[in-house]
Amino acid sequence: MTTEGDLLHTVTADDISETRKRMGKLMVWGAAALCVALAVWQFAHETGRIDAGFSNWRPVLYAYMLWATALCAAQVMVRGEAGKRTLFVLPAALFVISLVVFPLLFALYISFTDWNLASVNGPQPNGWDNVVQMWNDQFYWNALKNMVYYVLAVSVEYVIAFGLALLLNAQIRARKFFRVVFLLPLMLSPVAVSWMIGKSMLEVRFGPISRVVRELGFEPSFFGSPEIARFMIMAMDAWTFIPFMMIMLLAGLQALPREVIEASKVDGATGWQSFREVIFPLMLPVSLTAIVIRIIFKLKLADIIINVTSGGPGGATDSVTSFIFREYRDRSNVGYGTLLAMVYLVLIIIFVTLLLKLVSRWMERPA
């Protein structure tokens, strides 16, 4: 029995023979070799280099699962007790890798092919053609430009959400009732919102809102001009998601140390001064978290647009996601659509990383 190493966390000390270690390593490398060999064979078969092969890639998948199992078993064989600890995480990690990393790599490959589902030839690598096409695609740049507008609208949503959170935090009548009522839009599916509001209440002829506008002496047109249509999409999306920001801010407000606010009152601060000098700075970390999460939601905006305007008029309300949806669903343009999605993913990662970096100094609550 060993007397060295991490004795505190060791249940039993291992005395693993070299043969067992070699067996463990052999299992892993053997299964890996089988998996790679099958993959190479199948690839050669699929590309027409050899005749013999499987009708699909399923045997390669089975070989991969065999390798994953061998890898887990080998942990114990090679490392004993320490290997058992690894087994608490390794299967989950392999599962994530299988379902996230592999598809991501496959998507990366697809995005550099000309795969159109209607094409006879299937996916054919086409180099940088999709990137060039994207560079010249006015619809994509227009959608990206629209995303800037949509993201900027978050600032207005934040102000409204903060106001509502302050109201619900105050000692008002039926506070609990209003909290539930204000949360209702968030519980609705955006698809339901787009039909109930966008296509029913705002319907030019029958919609109750249209009737009110007509009664006021105006001719209703909610999606006729680019600016108004974009505003209406923003408004519907805001109506759905302001409660989300509001509830986060409300939670933040309720967690504020009361003594600091009371101290400011004792010092003679007015309501506005108390808000500006004490509450708002204390709320910054929560505010920024709410804004960042809301922006991430906003970058995925699509359902309302697809249902209400299909991106129109003339692309004025198109979001990147709704444009990609059309490329995929209506045009079966898998290669180009995937490239657009990958580029958008990279843009989102860069944008959110920079944003987090930029606001990190305010994310810590002041001492």
Binding site: A118, Q133, R205, S221, G224, P313, G315, R331, S332
Partner: protein, 542 residues
Amino acid sequence: MKTDLYNCIKAAQKMNRRQMLKGTAALGAAAMLPAGKAAAAAHANVRAEILKIPGVGAGSPTDSDWQKVGEMCLGATKENVAEGEFAGVELTFMGLNNQNLHNFLFRGFLKPWEAYTGAKINWIDLAQADYNARLQQSIATGTVDFDIIEMGAPFEGDVLGKGLASEMPDWVKEQIDMDDYVDYLKAPVGTWDGKTYRVSIDGDCHSFAYRKDYFGPDGIGGAEVPTTWQEINQVSKDLVGKEDPLTGLPAHGYLDPLKGWGGFGFYFLENRAAAYAKHPNSPAWLFDPDTMTPMVNNPAWVQAIQDVMDLIEAGAYPADQINADPGTTAFQQFLAGTGSMLMWWGDVGSSARTSDTSVVGDVVGFGINPASDRVYNAQAGAWEDTRNEAPNMAYIGWGVYVMATVEGDEKKKKAAWSAAAHLGGKDLSLWASAYPSGFQPYRNSHFQFEEWEEAGYDRAFIEDYLGSNADSYNHPNAAIEPRIPGIFQYYSVAEDELAKGYAGQYGSAQETADAIAAAWEEITDQIGRDSQIAIYRASLGL
């Protein structure tokens, strides 16, 4: 028959029990008449008998009715297949489940067929919205897991063009009497490289619906119903500022949908363009059949786009028309009393009388796609001042196809074709066109109005409504959809460009059309120009 059409006719003729009994009594009496030739009498008898199930005006048919009809129409199958001949054969059928019709009917129709032949059918039911994606993915990933498919003709390029279907044996052609098809469903539709693949079970076309109260001696739209696009444009402009006689709201003329509809919206520009661009001297009107060069930016198509832009400029459309897709123009505008002229599939005519939101039921009239005073001859590159009519056969209708998965197993192949032939049988299709099924009449024998009359239908209404379909179907210059792979990709991208054009983002109609043409060229290159040319030519029968 489409469900709403059935309901419409019932509502239109205010079918009551007495009328229904009169109809069924007439059928019964006809059935008891002394027969001439035994076979002919038996055939006529079956047609009369199945039309009594469940009886016009006696509520919607149920599964037991479908099974009864399937049983009574088995005669043709029995001539070609021995009892129990397909024992042990399993087939998979992929189709739709729209409105609980389509596959639901097929199940009932085929149940007696299964009992007689011994075959078993497994079902894949799809919602309409999932259909295209499921089919395309099956084809693209090589996972065709069905033996029989219910499919629209526009997808023939994707399936037949890639050799994925089984060629129809001659005995099936005889069993289903293909000569009875209306003209436009005959070859080249349903055929590829001279081989026949499709058992038609439906027909489709756009027809013209108009408001009778807008036209006539005192009509605000003029004395006569417009019959050309030039007249329609003029009437639409002249109606600006006038009051709708029914609703008292602003009057409007023709309703163009200005927003896309997943590719289907392009059919509506086609309605206008067909009259200008579909010259009788060629079946091609969307692409040059030699090069696949788009014709969508030739003067004829540009004129169609220009017409719409002129009407936008003149303020002839209702407010927010830029956000109106075809669903809006038909169901939220025309049927609700906004606008006076529309092109649509059959549903609009039927919904006019049955929909709760429709206010135009008593004032709606029908016709075929309007003509043009002049037609563009693409081969000569010049306009000709001759009147041109070209009904738009938008979508062409559903058919049943047998996949190549059955090849190599003669028993299975015969079983699959026998099932398809049963569904597309002459007698069974009469029942399907007379009762809610999701399908329109598509055979010349479906337009024998006396059969409908004897079954209890109102002859005048049937003649008026179905007559417009029959005229379109058999028109010598019908504009037939090209059945090339990815056809809806072309339509979808065209919708995006048209939306930009209508929103004023392009300088002119020509610029808009050029943008569509450029996008179409890209799609053609991506899918493969040579294969597209070959398939396009095959689909046109060239």
